[in-house]
Amino acid sequence: MLYREAGQFKSTYAEDQQIFPIRQDRIAVAALLLVAFIVVPLLANQYWLSAILTPFLIFALATLGLNILTGYAGQLSLGTAAFMAVGAFMAYNFVLRMPWLGVIPSFILAGVCAAAVGIVFGLPSLRIKGFYLAVATLACQFFVLWAIQRIGWITNYSASGVITAQKIVILGYVFDTPARKYVLTLAIVAVMALLAKNLMRSETGRAFMAVRDMDVAASVIGIPMMKTKLLAFAISSFYCGVAGALFAYTYLGTVEPEAFTLDLSFRILFMVIIGGVGSILGSFLGAAFIVLLPIFLSVLFGAISHASGMEISHAVVSNLELIIFGALIVFFLIVEPHGLARLWQIAKEKLRLWPFPH
């Protein structure tokens, strides 16, 4: 209905293969970015910026990372939080020990470290598949956290293990207010999302999907199994690593192992599934859903207790949240196993063919 595609023809392959082939989409995305970069920082309040939008972006990035591995390359992983942790702590150390490096390069290097760890723990994927692999990645989760707590050098021998993240200074400009942190995060996430999209629509992405869909055929047409799988782990971990660094620096403000528990890994995995396996857009939708759900619920309960006048104990509320959250997950999986991305896809198709039903 909103789509008016008549006359949007492609006379080169470049046009045909652009990320948003439909003009209306390009306009929408441009508008969205404009709002996100300019309007939001001006209008949104502290709470929204620091408690909702920034974490949403960070989770989206981590989800993107896991989606590359699980959604595109078909390798199930439960160690996401560990890779994030590596990113966070390495970022801390780079900033701490090589201040001259600058924040962004430190983050990138942190991501590279995460990638290295990812490759190591990706090695089993060459021999084992499915849940065996998933469980194997748990080893990473536990080992990494253990290592961080045990190896003093990593935490710079801090007693508590909880470290305050250093100020973010880029070219002398200090990112200290929520708005600034948000913008920084947004910029990084936007760029990395673009890179991910490019990667997934070119040879690498196809190789990933080929391995996912039918590895025997993939190797028969010459796709190198080992390189592809490890690359998937590396890239995925890199994204998670950077996400971890952002998590510590632009969201928590502290670097601490407790932030990167198995629970977080599951959260990210949920975001992938709810958002849509093997979809970049899905990574954002999923993150938004999981981030907003608890907030929505607490608001809801707040309203209820306010309306009914009776006081609901905090324990009850948190348990109810837990239940509803879990139930919703299940419900969602039953209703739309392909996630929000698929729902969006269907809606879009309808809009494009309107007024025809199909």
């Binding site: 253990w146 045990r150 009850v316 348990n319 949240e321 239940i323 879990g326 999986l333």
Partner: protein
Amino acid sequence: MNVAFFFEVLIGGLLAGVMYSLVALGFVLIYKASGVFNFAQGAMVFLAALTFVSILKMGINFWLALVITLGVMVVLGIGIEKIVLRPLVNQPPITLFMATIGLTFVLEGLSQLVWGSQPHGLELGIPDVPMEWLSQKWNINVSQFELFAAGVAGAMVAGLALFFQYTRIGRALRAVADDHQAALAVGIPLKHIWAIVWAVAGFVALVAGLMWGARNGVQFALTFIALKALPVLILGGFESVPGAIIGGLIIGASEKLAEVYVGPMVGGGIESWFAYVIALMFLLVRPQGLFGEKIIDRV
């Protein structure tokens, strides 16, 4: 090095391993029958233990409480199968897996909502003290309770074995595990089977819950023992009951030994991951696990 101490550790490890096996069994049963990797097993254990204790606390006698809890678990198992898994049939395994994680949250929330979240002690009347004669004779300290737990575990495995061998349902179950089509062909309604399996899993969870609850107290931490069971599973293979037992023993023993002999060198706390590393090492050599069959890629 002190041989007696070594054996003490070893036996302790083996017995701890049995405890792992108890949990692992629950996973195996369900995976075998319905190919679902039921991450909620840990939560079920927690729920079982918590329910049982809470009922005891109401002053109901032990056996009655046991029966009631068993009832609850069976109903729960069947409910899960009907509400969660039936609608997801023919979905890719990962989807089912995710569903069980969602389920975990529900169960955790539910049990604490109903019974409150404060920890309870659980007294089965078997003291967690070393066996005198052993300690006197060889100066090896082995907990009575752990022996008892081992006994229970052994009994349950035996029971399950008999159940599989000699009951119609049991045989049906094996048929399903081997080949769903075949099972259908011989006229066994799959959904019944699955319901039953979940019920049985509930029972196993109860037993595990009692043992672990009695050992570490009934508290939220119980949910994490699922994580303890996972290495056992990859070691023993998701589909093999004996695998679960042997795997448990290996993990338990090696973990304890490592904890005692290797731990200090690296600053301790290695039990959180050591089991996984063993399992992993093992997998790299034998991808299909201890008892799993070899997978051949057909072209």
